[in-house]
């Protein structure tokens, strides 16, 4: 059995140099050195020595160890059992989800050092916020953002975490657990937190490749991979998980169908009316919903091809996500002989039938209930920590938890019991045009259930009334209108939050009340959302209460807190990009100094972040009146070439649509030889790059290129870069339209325009898409019937397929729609924000509505772009050959050797 005692850190060393582990341990005064080639060997040998474990304090060991990672704080060393007095008890935890993670936080706060903690996690990673997987799937956030405890946290607290180790057996007599990788670990106290497993429908074909469940990050990654095909997906199950999966896959460009066995969606949380509204809202997003759909089989030879239903119909799919429910993962406990019903049976203190073993989380069954929402699991974490700390508590008490759907744009709230009944009364409010439905169910003048759809800000208030079993007889008339209407006060935007009592629950996930949040803001002087999250945990899990928390901050801090200004342009101002853009137009500001003066910039002349942004906004908003400020442009745009690491420049002439000629190629060859340009390279945008040109040579290089008809390719610009094309109907046997011609036409129309960030385009002549148009900022796929316009793709730091804007019939229409789209982006985008990020912010539907659906708007955008081009389409190279900005290209003086050496 391993124990720890403190010894001076310099007497322990362990090096991992990628090939071998060098261990130099001196726990008892004798020097000993060993070398191991594998972490497993080291662990086995150390265990055989009777109790030396690995000692370290550097985080890179964690990464190097990856699979087996064992961390003990520097300055401590394990020594054989019984040698020491005052030893820490050994706590082993099976599972590393949100419940045990929260339990450890409480335990470390209450009795730090009481336990030596070892965690076995079947997933090969740290503790992350599982309820945020849906936003990861839809692309609203990513894995890094949802990590709760990073590697550093485990090191800091001296916790040993085995990643990717599944416990296969518990020996309750010897009090040990054994992992699938052969690690045996003894315990004094054991906590089982194995969570739940997704229910896989027992139908033929349920194990075909392409059939997934939705439980952990691996499932999300598998779905993201499948979504790249942009093909058809089916989600089986119209509950929370199924709808979130469907929405995420839809956001990733898949065609999604939801199959639900029952007549209405989420029937366990919603009544039929709200279920219908939800179905309509889901279908408005382009997701098909089929209720009363009984899955009979999954079809496919080698992988999924479709889902067969009991009514004989078949839904084609290349990806099937089974989200038909979860069940507690109690197998391990059952095998160990613990009392198990649906879940592992525990008492109110979360004790199993074995006095040395606790269970908590989704795997546990307490008072006849099993749980899947985070709030009760966090409540269990509190109780379990108190139990382990040896403190008496009231124990775990069941309470209803509100349900919220994490699909952006759909507001839905439900709590309690909403079935009809003889002894019940209900109050209903419907507003069909606003898509609002509210229903409160009363029994003996007390709320027992609430369903809100479309407008959910009173959810916390109704939950509070229900929890307190408050008598609502006096406010029955106005109850359904919500809290703001009680007592006759005029409802303002903040009224609802202001009127909440201090004990109203704001954050359902973490059980944080209004009073706790406002108290912390006042007592600790918190001023940012991040601070409030860190100190109170409010809004730190699913984030659906963020708006409420921000309102509370405004309430307490008044004007000091402005949630809209959380992301200023830079340190020179408190304003964000959108406010600056709006104010430039509203106040008619037409110079950088006017902007800085009127908007109260904190610095004399800005910085390298805000000046280029302001310059762009002014160029875009006042094309005829604003004089472009070259001193506020990044060097590449100032000198119209790309700076390289050694201070030389690269030169990329425009090749319209990627088409060139012998004359052009000869001119390039001559220039390369004449100026001894060291590297010539073909770019990804179908042009030729000459690299390593001295700045002094640029005007002469441009002069030579200009003679052959070349103009600047703007390869340096936050502006239109290239329009890639394929050879289309000119040559290709599959081409449906003149893609080369359209590409050149677009490029000739739009060159010279400045945009918030670079814009790359492509035109493919058929859906085989040789010009790779579906990962561009704007792309066109020619089809027999016309032109499919795509936008918002990315193939850089992010990879993202495009969205379809719409299909138009003629080349003229294609050009008009593309120009209008780019102008809309020019007018709304934040500086350096690519089209795909702008589109995510503004909403695809809104963009389609304005460009495809609103002829007047589209024409206005088009006209403004055309006007702006009158001032933009002057070849900057020719201007500089003619002498513009001469000072840029010549040193102001040269000092000879004798003078300098004097």
């Amino acid at each position: 059995m391993l124990r720890q005692r403190a010894i001076p850190p310099e007497r322990i060393a362990l090096d991992w140099n990628r090939e071998a582990i060098h261990e130099r341990v001196n726990p008892l005064g004798q020097t000993k050195e060993s070398v191991f080639s594998q972490p497993e060997h080291a662990l086995a040998a150390l265990a055989g020595e009777g109790g030396i474990a690995l000692v370290g304090h550097q985080s890179h060991w964690l990464h190097a160890w990856h699979e087996v990672c064992c961390v003990v704080p520097a300055g401590t060393s394990p020594v054989p059992n019984g040698e020491l007095s005052g030893m820490a008890e050994k706590l082993v935890i099976i599972g590393n989800g949100m419940a045990p993670g929260r339990m450890l936080e409480h335990l470390l706060e209450e009795t730090p050092g009481r336990y030596e903690v070892t965690i076995f996690n079947a997933e090969p990673r740290v503790n992350y916020d599982r309820i945020m997987l849906s936003p990861v799937l839809s692309g609203e956030t990513d894995y890094e953002q949802i990590i709760i405890h990073g590697d550093g946290w485990y090191i800091k607290h001296g916790i040993t975490l085995y990643k990717g180790h599944k416990i296969v057996a518990i020996d309750r007599v010897a009090k040990t657990v054994r992992s699938d990788r052969g690690i045996t670990e003894p315990y004094d106290k054991l906590v089982i937190a194995t969570g739940s497993v997704p229910v896989k429908l027992a139908v033929p074909g349920n194990n075909l490749p392409g059939v997934l469940t939705y439980r952990d990050l691996d499932d999300v990654n598998a779905m993201l991979l499948a979504a790249q095909s942009r093909a058809k997906a089916v989600a089986i199950g119209g509950g929370l998980l199924g709808l979130e999966a469907a929405s995420g896959l839809n956001a990733r460009g898949m065609e999604v169908t939801v199959l639900h066995l029952m007549p209405t969606l989420m029937e366990r949380q919603l009544d039929a009316a709200a279920g219908y509204l939800l179905e309509r809202a889901i279908e408005q997003r382009g997701i098909k919903v089929r209720t009363k759909a009984n899955t009979r089989a999954i079809l496919g030879a080698d992988r999924v091809e479709g889902v067969a239903l009991a009514d004989g119909s078949v839904v084609p799919a290349t990806l099937v996500v089974m989200a038909a429910g979860i069940k507690p993962n109690a197998e391990l406990a059952k095998d160990a002989g613990l009392a198990v019903n649906r879940g592992i049976l525990v008492d109110a203190r979360l004790q199993t039938s074995d006095p040395y073993i606790l269970a908590l989380g989704e795997c546990a069954e307490v008072g006849g209930h099993v749980y899947g929402l985070v709030a009760p699991l966090y409540e269990m974490a509190k109780v379990a920590a108190a139990n382990l700390a040896g403190r008496e508590t009231a124990g775990f008490v069941h309470s209803d938890t509100p349900t919220k759907l994490k699909v952006s744009g759909i507001d839905l709230f439900s709590i309690g019991d909403f079935a009809d009944g003889e002894d019940r009364e209900e109050i209903v409010l419907r507003d069909a045009s606003a898509g609002i439905y509210k229903r409160v169910i009363l029994k003996d003048n007390r709320i027992i259930g609430t369903v809100l759809f479309g407008e959910t800000s009173d959810g916390a208030w109704f939950t509070g009334l229900k929890r307190k079993a408050a008598n609502v007889a006096e406010m029955r008339e106005s109850l359904i209108f919500g809290q703001a209407y009680q007592g006759g006060a005029a409802p303002g935007p903040m009224a609802a939050v202001a009127a909440l009592p201090d004990d109203a629950e704001i954050c359902g996930c973490n059980g944080v009340s209004k009073g706790k949040i406002t108290g912390a803001i006042r007592a600790k002087g918190l001023s940012s959302l991040e601070d409030v999250r860190a100190h109170t945990k409010a809004s730190a899990s699913c984030g659906s209460c963020t708006g409420l928390v921000e309102q509370l901050m405004t309430l307490v801090l008044g004007g000091q807190y402005n949630p809209a200004a959380v992301q200023p342009v830079c340190g020179c101002t408190a304003l964000g990009h959108d406010e600056v853009r709006r104010l430039i137009k509203a106040k008619g500001l037409k110079t950088i100094s006017a902007v800085m003066q009127e908007l109260e910039w904190k610095t004399s002349c800005g910085c390298a972040k805000c000046r280029p942004a302001l310059n762009y906004y002014l160029v875009c908003d006042w094309p005829d009146e604003y004089a472009d400020d070259y001193q506020s442009r990044f060097v590449n745009e100032r000198v119209h070439a790309n700076i390289q690491k050694d201070g030389t420049y690269s030169v990329v002439p425009r090749m319209w649509g990627g088409v060139t000629s012998a004359k052009e190629l000869r001119a390039i060859a001559d220039v390369v030889e004449k100026f001894e340009i060291p590297t010539v390279k073909v770019t990804g945008g179908q042009r030729i790059d000459m690299l390593g040109v001295r700045k002094e040579d640029l005007p002469a290089v441009w002069a030579e290129l200009g003679k052959a008809g070349f103009v600047s390719g703007y390869a340096y610009a936050r502006g239109l870069r290239t329009v890639k094309t394929c050879v289309g109907t000119d040559w290709c046997r599959f081409g449906t339209q003149d893609s080369t011609g359209l590409g050149i036409r677009i490029e000739k129309f739009m060159w010279g325009s400045w945009t918030p960030a670079k814009v790359k385009m492509a035109v493919s002549g058929c859906p085989r898409n040789c010009a790779e148009a579906t990962c561009k900022d704007v792309g066109v796929i020619c089809v027999d019937s016309g032109y499919e316009i795509h936008f918002a793709g990315a193939a850089g730091l992010d990879i993202k397929g495009t969205e379809v804007l719409g299909v138009v019939k003629t080349e003229d229409a294609a050009l008009e729609h593309i120009v209008a789209l780019v102008e809309m982006y020019r007018e709304q985008g934040r500086y350096l924000e690519r089209i795909y990020k702008w589109a995510r912010r503004v909403g695809l539907d809104e963009i389609r509505r304005q460009i495809m659906g609103d002829t007047e708007k589209r024409k206005a955008y088009f006209d403004r772009f055309v006007f702006s081009q009158r001032f933009a389409q002057a070849d900057p190279w020719a201007e500089r050959v003619a002498g513009k900005d001469e000072h840029e290209f010549q040193p102001m003086a040269e000092i000879g050797l004798p003078v300098a050496a004097a």
Binding site: S604, C607, A608, R611, Q631, I643, M892, A900
Partner: protein
């Protein structure tokens, strides 16, 4: 060392001989020009308040040409990796660490002069 030239403000000590490098108006406001010397380039800056500074044209980070950066306040942002260098001290600002040499300048009758002594001693 490195004293900024500012018309009407006598410098603290005379660094000796001066060499003319051109007219102050050759440099755009919030801009820079280069002076080529056998021992490397010097960047000469003009700020929004018409003060002039000369520093090595070589960022302490990866040797980027500071003369090509955006000039703001009395600092310049390197065009390669956005280090911000103080024109007054030559020190990197913010969390970055490093410095470049600075050179004494003076303006007389709209002409810029750089200290020969400083040139001989400082240009690396």
């Amino acid at each position: 060392m490195g004293v900024a030239a500012n018309e009407g403000h006598p410098r603290e000590r005379d660094p000796g001989r001066w060499i003319g490098i051109g007219s102050a108006s050759d440099i755009p406001r919030r801009g820079a020009r280069c002076v080529v010397t056998p021992r490397g380039r010097i960047a000469v800056f003009r700020t929004i308040e018409n003060r002039y500074f000369a520093i090595e044209d070589r960022c302490p980070h990866k040797a980027g040409p500071l003369s090509q950066g955006i000039v703001h306040g009395r600092a310049v942002t390197c065009p390669l990796h956005n280090w911000v260098i103080s024109l007054e001290s030559g020190e990197a600002e913010g969390a970055d660490e490093g410095s470049v040499g600075t050179f004494a300048l003076k303006v007389e009758d709209g002409q810029l002069f750089i200290s020969v002594e400083a040139l001989a001693g400082r240009v690396a």
